[in-house]
Amino acid sequence: MLERLHGRKKFQLFLGFLIGVGFGFLLDRGGATDFNIIVNQLLLEDFRVLKIIFTAIITGMIGLHVIVKLTPAELQPKPCQWKPIIIGGLIFGVGFAILGLCPGTAAGAMGTGAIHAVFGVIGMLLGAGIFASVYTNMEDFMADSDLGPITIPGSLEVNKWWIILVFSIILAAIMFFLERAGL
């Protein structure tokens, strides 16, 4: 039944849009479409954004693994190309602080009337375009450190439910202490 649903291309585009509307609505209610809230998170003065992400990870981690268990769906982890991930991640981080928004929240910020976010979106289009142009020169670098789509339970050879339990407890404990510290 789900496979037939996955095959309905136009309806899938509509579903993508609907899930996006829900995502954008929640990002705005969480404050993540606000430059000041993101920058205060990066300044470690207000942990609202990390609380959202950590709770989303706990919910998503449990939910996705239950779905994989109960349906024919399979996980689709991205390849662990650790060199481009570290360097690209740091470049992303610098842009994250300067724009004060990320690709998803910048789209949301535009919806809330942030004109400066429009320039951020134009910049992201340029940045992605520049990457596409230099990609041929970087293919070796990208492939060089590729460890494949490895997962934490797979690499540690531990039952995934133990990892899910331990990660949920650690993330919940961090949030508990952040609340106690008034952050």
Binding site: L5, L15, G16, F17, I19, G20, V21, F23, G24, L26, L27, D28, G30, G31, A32, N36, L43, K51, A56, I57, T59, G60, M61, I67, K78, C80, W82, P84, I85, I87, G88, G89, L90, I91, G93, A97, I98, L99, C102, P103, G104, G111, T112, A114, H116, A117, F119, G120, G123, M124, L125, G127, A128, G129, F131, A132, E139, P149, T151, P153
Partner: protein
């Protein structure tokens, strides 16, 4: 203080809702929520408009075909969803220069727009090099317990925290 405060929901409620959307995307569409490939595809579409079909020959655009796909519609949906939310809460307002930026660099719009453009270029480039963004790696990838996504999530925040402290930390 931030005028949005009264309209903000608990971050735990918002996070749980986003986690449920990640699951719905997987279940209903077999897709992991992510945003940055939509920018790569749009950039390819814009280039195709200017330079014609030869753009499709670029190896990167063979991998990420410049067309409207599920993620592209997701990003469009984010704009609409945030618009609806901010109209309902009364939080919608035209913002040229955000407060913390103004406290640091003054109220020049040109300076803020240039900064946003440069920040955006770095985000777009970095996200494509790392293979995802705060949602694709930071939420969907980490939820799948992907090693690369946890690494990306860590370095997004290391880069972001160090830069933010250097730029805005003196305020």
């Amino acid at each position: 203080m931030n005028p949005f405060s009264s309209e903000l929901w608990s971050p735990y409620l918002v996070g749980a809702g986003i986690g449920i959307l990640v699951c719905l995307g997987f279940l209903l569409s077999n897709k992991a929520i992510g945003c940055s490939t939509a920018y790569a595809r749009t950039s390819g579409m814009a280039e195709k408009f200017v330079r014609g079909d030869k753009v499709k020959e670029k190896p990167y655009y063979k991998k990420f075909i410049p067309e409207i796909d599920w993620e592209w519609m997701l990003v469009l949906g984010i704009v609409v969803g945030a618009l609806i939310s901010s109209l309902l809460s009364g939080g919608f307002r035209i913002e040229m220069v955000p407060q913390i930026w103004e406290d640091t660099f003054g109220s020049s719009q040109i300076l803020r727009f240039s900064g946003a453009l440069i920040g955006g270029i770095l985000l777009g480039f970095g996200a494509r090099m790392a293979g995802g963004c705060t949602s694709g790696h930071g939420i969907s990838g980490t939820s799948q317990l992907s090693v690369g996504s946890w690494l990306a999530f860590l370095f997004f925040f290391i880069g972001g925290i160090v830069t933010a402290v250097l730029i805005y930390g003196g305020v």
